[in-house]
Subunit: 212 residues, 2 copies
DNA sequence: TTGATTTTGTTACTTTTTTCACAAATCAGC
DNA sequence: GCTGATTTGTGAAAAAAGTAACAAAATCAA
């Protein structure tokens, strides 16, 4: 099919499929039908086939999907069949935790530059990376080939961090600070805030209690 | 309006509105129109009015919304105008980080029980909480009035942790482990995995590069 | 080789969500 | 207290997303 616009929800589901396929693969399963996968993901089987159809034909009729092939196909579709070099801005509690979290490298997101504006932090080494003055972002983004910016500053500094990143020629931003940021049109921004999930949970619990 | 079913997307947006209204409120703004708020959130103004209409009438025609009142109204709608006592299961790197993160209490999610199955960890004190054997979840959930379970075990243990929590009478679960869990029908589960956002970002960057 | 069986890919249909458009409400100025 | 300028709340229209249904492809038993 290979269509133009792809729903945001499809991208989210592809990430879920990937997670479940990974677990199945590790359990030694080789082939799965859209029906079985749908059960595991709690979605409609047509939904899975349609989501995949946006990117190509990955299954075998009458058989199903070869799990390893499908994983490869989804990774390719999402653009995670490669490494992404990242710049982390704001080496505080959260920043340090992320720098230490090996899962990033394992999944292909390699934090190759750590930046802060605090003189006390600049020059210190954290998880093998020297903390660099955020004023020097531009040179480093170019020299190290950084493409993704990770913002872990306090919320009131997030916009400034974003401005630095954009000016440096970064291609996309993940913002962990609980503040919206404004960036020029073509640069995508994703927000990470797990309180959203806590709110959603509180809402659902309250709702079901209200019904009872 | 006060309608029955509320879109998942609406709940997500309410969390965003709340964030932005909070920042505006701190900046000393008292009143805002759906148009202005929409600009700040990058959504359609009708969208905001409709989202709010699911829960009631909170604005004043010809004037706009009183920020403090609107914040209160949204918190009430989401069910976060109160405290929620939480059980954290799995006191490892992430678990400890969450226990130390004051923001939880500040937002009304109070982690009141920390559980682990590792004998070496049980009995130790972490952020003022004694780590308790997960076998004792049932008693503690009842005695401490815990309503939300937070899973921070390795992925292969997430299902077991979920089973314990469900059996203990927990009302909802937040799962930080990258694995889907199965729970009986009425219990809501929310998943936290920031790699989904990294995947989405990689996808969007790849897409825009492909177009260029 | 044929026919029965399975399961995909895709089109047609249904439902949900978003956007538009405007009457109803509010307020400031005269 | 009326007039004009705003801005909400909501029903109707449009767009998008999700589901169902089925032809096309693959496999396997006979
Ligand atoms: N700590 C957590 O567990 C946690 C969890 C979720 C979200 N967050 C969010 O992540 C952000 C960071 O939290 P934290 O606890 O690490 O805070 P922190 O104060 O420990 O760290 C912030 C760091 O950012 C640096 N900084 C400030 N302005 C900067 C700038 N313009 N350029 C570069 N660096 C700058 C500071 O020097 C500091 O080192 C906050 O927005 C917080 O709300 C934190
Ligand atoms: N470390 C991070 O920054 C990070 C970030 C995002 C997600 N995660 C996810 O969070 C989870 C925990 O990560 P971590 O780094 O803290 O791992 P960890 O190994 O440090 O901690 C896991 C803890 O869970 C306990 N545990 C195991 N089975 C249990 C059970 N059945 N009941 C109660 N406790 C049990 C273990 O004893 C251990 O203390 C993992 O699934 C990981 O993928 C971690």
């Amino acid at each position: 099919m290979k269509s133009e616009h792809i729903p945001k929800a499809t991208i989210e589901r592809l990430a879920v499929y990937l997670q479940i396929l990974g677990n199945l693969g590790r359990d030694g399963v080789n082939i799965i039908s859209s029906d079985k996968l749908a059960q595991a993901c709690k979605v409609n089987p047509s939904q899975i086939r349609k989501d995949l159809a946006y990117f190509g034909e990955f299954g075998v009729r009458g058989v199903g999907y070869y799990i390893q092939e499908l994983i490869t196909a989804i990774k390719q579709s999402l653009g995670i069949d490669r490494h992404w070099y990242c710049a982390l801005v704001g080496v505080g509690n959260l920043g340090r935790a992320l720098l230490r979290h090996n899962e990033f490298a394992r999944r292909g997101f390699i934090i190759r530059g750590a930046f802060d504006c605090d003189q006390d932090k600049i020059g210190k080494v954290e998880s093998g990376l020297e903390v660099i003055c955020s004023k020097r972002l531009k040179t480093k983004v170019r020299d190290l080939g950084l493409e993704i910016g990770i913002i872990t500053t306090p919320p009131e500094r997030a916009q400034r961090a974003a401005d630095y990143l954009v000016e440096s020629g970064i291609k996309g931003i993940i913002n962990f600070a609980p503040a919206r940021i404004a960036v020029p049109e073509p640069i995508p921004v994703e927000y990470v805030d797990y309180f959203h999930q806590f709110y959603a949970l509180a809402f659902h619990i309250t709702l079901s209690q209200h019904r009872a």
